[in-house]
C-alpha cells in the first residue's frame, strides 16, 4: 500500500503492466528521456529501455499512426498525446483507422492500444492546453473513452484500458494530477470498464459527473447535505459506452437528475445522458433534467478559467432548481 497522487498512480500502472507484459510499449513526446511533461512516464525508459519507451517527434498524427501500426502487429502501445488540445492532427488516424480497424478487417486486425492525454483546464496553461473534447471522440463508433477521477481509479482503469483488446482514449484530468493522494495497492488489479462508480449514496437527486468535476460535485453534495438534501453522486468513469443502467436505476430512485461536465454544453455528453433518461425514465422524473456545463465558448485563459469551469455554487443552484419544481 502506498499513498500516491494520480500522476504517480498512472506511472505505477505503466510500470506494473510493462513488467508483466512485454508487449506493452510507450511512445509520445518527451515521454522517454524527460519522463513526460507531467512526469507520468518518469523512470520508465531507465527501467525498460529505449526500445520500449520511445520519444517521438512533435507529430501527433505520427504518434497515433505508429500506435495503430504497432497494435495491429502484436504490440500493446500506450501512446501519449501531450495535451488533449493537440489531438486534432491525430483525428485522421483515430477516426479513419484506429476506430475501424477491427470492423474493416472483420476482426483480422485489431488495435489493442491506449491513447492517453491530459484533459480539461484549471492549470493556468496557455491556449490549446485546457480542452475537454470527449464528446468528439465519444461520438465516434469504435472508440472507448475513459476518464478517471481519483488515483485509485486512474490506476485500475488504466490497467483495464491497456488490457482491453480495442482502442481506449484515456483522459486524465490535469488539475487532479497532484491534487490529492490516495492509498492504492500496486498489485496489478484492474477496475471494470463500462460502469459508473457510485461515490455517494443519496435519495433526493442523482448527480452524474466525471473527471475533475467530481471534486466540485462532491463538495456541492456536502453543502447540500447540510441543507437536508441527500445527493447521490455517480462518477461516469467510462464516457463511452455510457452505463445507462446505473444512471437509470438511480434516477428511478431519486426522481431528479443533474449532469455536471466541464466540457461545453452544446452536444456534450450530458445531452446524451439527458436524452436517454428522458426516453426511458420520463415517468419517474419529478422535475426537468438539468445540466451544469462549461459555456459554449473557447475555454478562456488563466485569469478567467475559473469563471468558465463550473463551480460548487452553480452545481448547488441546479440541484435546488430541481427540488423547487
Amino acid at each position: 500500500m502506498a499513498k500516491v497522487t494520480m500522476i504517480e498512480a498512472i506511472n505505477r500502472a505503466h510500470a506494473w503492466e510493462m513488467a508483466h507484459d512485454s508487449t506493452v510499449v510507450v511512445l509520445g513526446e518527451d515521454v522517454g528521456l524527460n519522463g513526460g511533461v507531467f512526469r507520468a512516464t518518469a523512470g520508465l525508459q531507465e527501467q525498460f529501455g529505449k526500445d520500449r519507451v520511445q520519444d517521438t517527434p512533435l507529430a501527433e498524427g505520427m504518434i497515433a499512426g505508429m500506435a495503430i501500426g504497432m497494435a495491429t502487429q502484436g504490440l500493446r502501445p500506450v501512446a501519449e498525446i501531450q495535451f488533449m488540445g493537440f489531438i486534432y492532427p491525430a483525428l485522421d488516424q483515430i477516426g479513419n483507422h484506429m476506430a475501424r480497424m477491427r470492423n474493416r478487417t472483420r476482426g483480422r486486425l485489431t488495435c489493442p492500444l491506449v491513447l492517453r492525454m491530459p484533459h480539461g483546464g484549471g492549470i493556468h496553461a496557455p491556449e490549446h492546453h485546457s480542452e475537454s473534447l470527449e464528446a468528439l471522440l465519444a461520438h465516434h463508433a469504435g472508440l472507448r473513452v475513459v476518464c478517471p477521477s481519483s488515483p485509485a481509479r486512474a490506476y485500475g482503469l488504466l490497467l483495464a484500458a491497456i488490457r482491453d483488446p480495442d482502442p481506449v482514449i484515456f483522459l486524465e484530468p490535469a488539475r487532479l494530477y497532484r491534487l490529492v493522494k490516495q492509498e492504492i495497492n500496486d498489485d496489478g488489479q484492474a477496475l471494470p470498464l463500462d460502469v459508473c462508480y457510485r461515490l455517494r449514496e443519496g435519495s433526493d437527486v442523482t448527480l452524474v459527473t466525471w473527471g475533475a468535476m467530481v471534486t466540485e460535485t462532491l463538495r456541492a453534495a456536502d453543502k447540500l447535505e447540510s441543507e437536508g438534501v441527500s445527493c447521490e453522486v455517480l462518477d461516469l468513469a467510462t464516457l463511452s459506452p455510457i452505463d445507462h443502467d446505473t444512471i437509470l436505476e438511480s434516477v428511478v430512485k431519486t426522481g431528479r437528475l443533474v449532469v455536471v461536465h466541464e466540457a461545453p454544453r452544446n452536444c456534450g455528453i450530458g445531452a446524451e445522458i439527458a436524452a436517454t433518461v428522458a426516453e426511458r425514465a420520463l415517468y419517474d422524473l419529478h422535475a426537468p433534467i438539468k445540466r451544469v456545463t462549461g459555456y459554449d465558448t473557447i475555454i478562456p485563459l488563466s485569469r478567467l478559467e475559473h469563471d468558465y469551469i463550473p463551480n460548487t455554487a452553480r452545481i448547488t443552484d441546479a440541484v435546488r432548481a430541481t427540488l423547487a419544481e
Binding site: 500522476i7 507531467f38 527501467q47 497532484r178 471494470p192 436505476e249
Partner: protein, 444 residues
C-alpha cells in the same frame, strides 16, 4: 546586496544560455526593464528586472550557460523580495511541493537532476497540489450488483451480473418504481398539482400502469364533451326525437335552475256541476300571473337578466307515445273558456297525430303539468329555462278535512308549484299560489 536567480522560464527547462546583456554594472534600472536575453532550448527570451535598483554584479557572460535557480544578477542594497519574474511558472516553482515519482530503477540513477530548482512537474502552467488525502469508497455498477472498487480492488465484472433491481420499472412494465414512487406522465403530475389531487389515489391507465392526464381529469370530474365520456353500458338504443330533446332540456335545466317547490291543495268543494278541470286550471294560472307577474317571466342566468312577459302563454305538458311534448296555449289571460277548450283539444289531437308545429311550441311563459289525470298527488316538477315556474296538478281526491270544528269530505286538487329561486322569491311564489288557489276554489 540582493541576488536574483535565473527563474524557471516556463518550459520546465533546466538552464539557459546568456545571449546578450542589456545593462551594465552601476546602471540604475527600473522594474520590468529588460535586463538580458537568454536562449533556452525553445526560444530566446527577455528577462525583465524584478525590481528597481542599481546593478552591482553580473553573474555570467554571453555564451555562459546558467542553471535555473542559479544566481544571475546582483543589485545594491537590500531590496524587497523579488516579485515573481517572467512567467507565472516562476512564482509557482516555489509553491509546488515537488513529488518526484519514485521508480524501481535498476540502474540506480534518478531522473535528470533539477539541481536547486523545485521540480514543478509540468512544463506549462500550474498543477495545483495539496497535502490532502483522498478517502473514498466507490461502488462499481448498479446498486445490487456493485461491489466496492476502492483501493484498486477488482470490481468483478459487476456490470454483467443480473442486478436485483427491477429494471422493468425502467422499461415500462411496472406501475410503481422499485422504491414505491408513482410513475406518472409529467403533464399528469403538473395537472394533479394544479388541481390539488393526490396522485396516490389514482389508478393509472397508461401503458404499464402509468398515470396519464386522462386519469387526473376523470378523477377531478371535469366536464368534458359528452362524446368523450366513458359509457356506463354498451348496446343501448340511442335516443331520438322527443326523448332526446327531453334528455337535453332536462340536463340543461338541472345545470342551471335553482328549483324550489311549494305544495298546497285546492278545495273544490264549492264547484258547480260541469266544470272543465283543465280550463279552470289554465284560468287559475293566469290569475296567479296577474297577481304575481314575477312567475310569468323569462330569466337568463348567463346575463343575469329577467324579462317580465305581457301575456300568459301556458305550456301544457302532453304525454304521447313518443314522449313528452309541451304545446303552448297562447294568451290564456284573454281567451274565453270555450276558446281555451277548443285550443286544448286542437293541440291534444295534433300531439297525438304528430302534427304539432314549431309555432305551437314557442314562447311559453309558464308551464303546467297535469299528471294527476294519470296518478300522483304531489310532485317536484322541473322548471325549464327560460321560464321560471311550473305548476303541477295532482289526482283529485275526496279528502277528510276539518271545517271549523266539523269533519267533512271535500274534493281537493293537490298542487305542486316549482319556481326558479334565482329570480323568484318565496313570497312571490306563495302569493302566486294563493291567487291560483283563490281562483280555483271559486264555484265557477
Amino acid at each position: 546586496m540582493t541576488i536574483f536567480n535565473l527563474p524557471d522560464l516556463g518550459e520546465g527547462l533546466a538552464e539557459a544560455e546568456i545571449v546578450r546583456w542589456h545593462v551594465n554594472v552601476g546602471d540604475r534600472i527600473a522594474v520590468d526593464q529588460p535586463m538580458l536575453a537568454v536562449e533556452t532550448a525553445k526560444a530566446v527570451v527577455e528577462v525583465p528586472a524584478p525590481f528597481s535598483g542599481v546593478v552591482k554584479a553580473l553573474h555570467g557572460q554571453p555564451g555562459d550557460v546558467i542553471a535555473t535557480g542559479a544566481p544571475l544578477i546582483e543589485f545594491e542594497g537590500m531590496l524587497p523580495t523579488a516579485r515573481p519574474g517572467g512567467t507565472a511558472a516562476a512564482s509557482t516553482a516555489q509553491a509546488i511541493a515537488p513529488t518526484a515519482p519514485r521508480t524501481a530503477n535498476s540502474h540506480g540513477t534518478s531522473a535528470p537532476s533539477r539541481a536547486s530548482a523545485a521540480d514543478a512537474g509540468t512544463v506549462v502552467g500550474n498543477v495545483p497540489t495539496s497535502e490532502e488525502e483522498l478517502i473514498e469508497t466507490a461502488y462499481a455498477g448498479r446498486h445490487a450488483a456493485g461491489t466496492p472498487a476502492a483501493h484498486g480492488r477488482h470490481g468483478a465484472n459487476s456490470a454483467n451480473q443480473p442486478g436485483a433491481t427491477n429494471l422493468n420499472a425502467v422499461n415500462g412494465a411496472a406501475p410503481h418504481s422499485a422504491n414505491g414512487r408513482l410513475r406518472a406522465a409529467p403533464a399528469a403530475r403538473a395537472l394533479a398539482k394544479k388541481l390539488s389531487i393526490d396522485l396516490t389515489r389514482l389508478a393509472g391507465t397508461g401503458r404499464g400502469g402509468v398515470i396519464v392526464v386522462d386519469d387526473v381529469i376523470a378523477h377531478a370530474n371535469i366536464a368534458r364533451s359528452p362524446s368523450e365520456q366513458t359509457p356506463a353500458f354498451t348496446g343501448g338504443e340511442k335516443l331520438r326525437g322527443l326523448r332526446r330533446a327531453m334528455a337535453q332540456s332536462m340536463a340543461l335545466a338541472r345545470d342551471n335552475v335553482t328549483n324550489c317547490s311549494i305544495y298546497d291543495d285546492a278545495d273544490l268543494h264549492h264547484w258547480r256541476e260541469g266544470q272543465d278541470f283543465t280550463t279552470r286550471l289554465l284560468r287559475a294560472i293566469a290569475a296567479g300571473c296577474q297577481a304575481e307577474p314575477a312567475l310569468n317571466a323569462w330569466f337568463d342566468g348567463a346575463t343575469q337578466s329577467r324579462r317580465l312577459l305581457p301575456h300568459v302563454h301556458i305550456g301544457m305538458a302532453v304525454d304521447t307515445s313518443e314522449g313528452l311534448i309541451v304545446p303552448v296555449i297562447r294568451n290564456v289571460d284573454s281567451r274565453s273558456p270555450t276558446e281555451l277548450r277548443q285550443e286544448i283539444d286542437r293541440l291534444k289531437h295534433a300531439a297525438r297525430d304528430r302534427t304539432v308545429t314549431p309555432d305551437d311550441l314557442r314562447h311559453v311563459s309558464i308551464m303546467l303539468s297535469n299528471f294527476g289525470m294519470i296518478a300522483g298527488r304531489y310532485a317536484t316538477p322541473v322548471v325549464v329555462p327560460p321560464t321560471v315556474a311550473i305548476l303541477g296538478s295532482g289526482r283529485l281526491s275526496r279528502d277528510v278535512i276539518a271545517v271549523e270544528d266539523r269533519i267533512e269530505a271535500h274534493l281537493r286538487m293537490p298542487l305542486s308549484l316549482t319556481f326558479d329561486h334565482r329570480c323568484v322569491t318565496g313570497g312571490e311564489a306563495a302569493r302566486f299560489l294563493a291567487a291560483v288557489l283563490r281562483d280555483l276554489e271559486k264555484d265557477t
